[in-house]
């Protein structure tokens, strides 16, 4: 195995693009090092991207924030303006692993690991986050929702690296939230999860909403029926019940040691309902 820590993205892409064997991009390393340890992957090349300009920066941009691919969860949680704008995304990121893991783990890494149970991904998808990808053919932007294609597989092609994730500006009276079900209080992997982002008007009526689910399908789900169930409402009980039912109906989970199909299908709806109520409250709505 070869270890490289280039200073420019061009060098990083050149290394990855010319590597004939398996390669891995190293940011926080909290997934890559576990893969190495378990010999799940035996890469020829590791490219540490932390020395490339911008990778460790959180930058205000057009009313939103650009999160460099090597920014840790701990750094996100310490950024008061980011927490104020996208509390649901930050709380999702901060649910991943221990304090120690938070010191290193990144949004981009959680996305590229492509686990169906990745905590930050439903929150980013609800937020309409966009990944900036640089590769041998230049730079492109891709909605976060289109990055995972199946468990452990992404839509990135050879030599491509996510350099940052953009969390957009949002109107006043907006809020987001992320919840997951785990059988204990910390240090676990989601059995089911939901992210909700919404905006309300001065009367408390939801004008925009986006609802996503994690750990209940091979990839993150966007549930259009759930968002349409609450748009135009003040999250009255009937609207919430429709959202919950739409989420459960969208589930396509597996049975495994963490939960059964039935349990995941039920709890995903409950998570979405509760996340919607938190997002509504954060948007300034009262019930």
């Amino acid at each position: 195995m070869r270890f490289e820590s280039p200073d420019t993205i061009e060098q990083a892409i050149g290394l990855l693009n010319t590597c004939e064997g398996t390669s891995r991009v190293l940011a926080g390393g909290t997934d890559v090092l576990v893969q190495l340890r378990l010999a799940l992957v035996e890469p020829e090349l590791i490219v540490d991207i932390k020395h490339i300009a911008g990778m460790r920066d959180i930058t205000a941009e057009d009313g939103g924030f650009r999160i460099g691919a090597a920014v840790s969860g701990a750094e996100m949680g310490e950024h008061a303006d980011l927490v104020a704008l996208w509390p649901g995304v930050v709380e999702a990121m901060e649910l991943i692993g221990s304090t120690q893991v938070q010191g290193r783990a990144t949004l981009a890494g959680n996305l590229c690991n492509a686990s169906p149970a990745a905590d930050s991904v439903p929150a980013m998808v609800a937020a309409n986050a966009v990944a900036t990808i640089v590769g041998p053919n230049g730079t492109r932007e891709c909605p976060v929702a289109d990055i995972p294609v199946s468990p452990s597989k992404t839509s990135l092609t050879k030599g491509e690296v996510i350099t940052s994730i953009y969390l957009p500006a949002r109107p006043d009276n907006s809020g987001d939230a992320y919840l997951r079900f785990i059988p204990r209080t910390e240090m676990d992997i989601a059995v089911s999860s939901a992210g909700v982002s919404l905006t309300i008007n001065c009367d408390g009526v939801v004008t925009q909403a986006r609802v996503s689910l994690g750990a209940v399908a091979p990839t993150v789900l966007v549930v259009e029926d759930a968002s349409s169930a609450i748009i135009g409402t003040k999250l009255e009980d009937a609207a919430i019940a429709t959202l919950q039912a739409a989420c459960s109906a969208a589930c396509n989970p597996i049975d495994d040691k963490r939960g059964t199909v039935e349990f995941r299908t039920k709890t995903a709806g409950v998570m979405a309902k509760r996340a919607a109520l938190i997002a509504y409250s954060r948007a300034g709505g009262s019930k």
Partner: protein, 158 residues
């Protein structure tokens, strides 16, 4: 494949080492630098026994490649005491009998120290969540939590 030359600072001392690309910081601390305080429990970032501070940030050294430490500062449990004088956290763990086998203790110390530097007056809940990634199979945690709360109180009063 040639080894990688790394210059770093460990507990305030300039340290240079040669490492293989796949070696972790934990491997190098224990096997090349001779600092065996950090322990390998799980090797996958779940147990916290290998906790160190890297540029002041609490991390699992089993999840850091040794080559990544180039130009960084590393703090391990060996740097906590001042000479013969134990750190308040070390003394409080002893006073509260908050260890038995001791494998988790270096990680508990490093993690607790990082918490108290960030938050000198944590609630019990905050201590428990902060230390959720430091597994202890002996104590049942209560004594550890009491020791950290007591150390925090003494450090605030000092």
């Amino acid at each position: 494949m040639s080894k990688i030359h790394v210059s770093t600072s460990i507990n305030g001392d300039a340290v240079e080492y040669l490492c293989e690309p796949e070696e972790t910081l934990l491997d190098v601390l224990r096997n090349r630098v001779g600092l065996t305080g950090a322990k390998e429990g799980c090797g996958s970032g779940d147990c916290g026994a290998c906790s160190v501070a890297l540029d002041g940030r609490l991390v699992c050294s089993c999840l850091v490649l040794a080559a990544e430490a180039e130009g960084k500062t590393v703090s391990t449990v060996e740097g906590i005491a001042e000479g013969e004088n134990l750190h308040v956290l070390q003394q409080k763990l002893l006073d509260h009998a908050a260890l038995q086998c001791g494998i988790c203790t270096p990680g508990i110390l490093i993690a607790s120290k990082a918490l108290l530097e960030k938050n000198p007056d944590p609630t019990e809940t905050e201590v428990r969540y902060w230390l959720a990634g430091n597994l202890c199979r002996c104590t049942g945690y209560d004594k550890i939590i009491r020791a950290v709360m007591d150390a925090a109180a003494e450090m605030r009063g000092a």
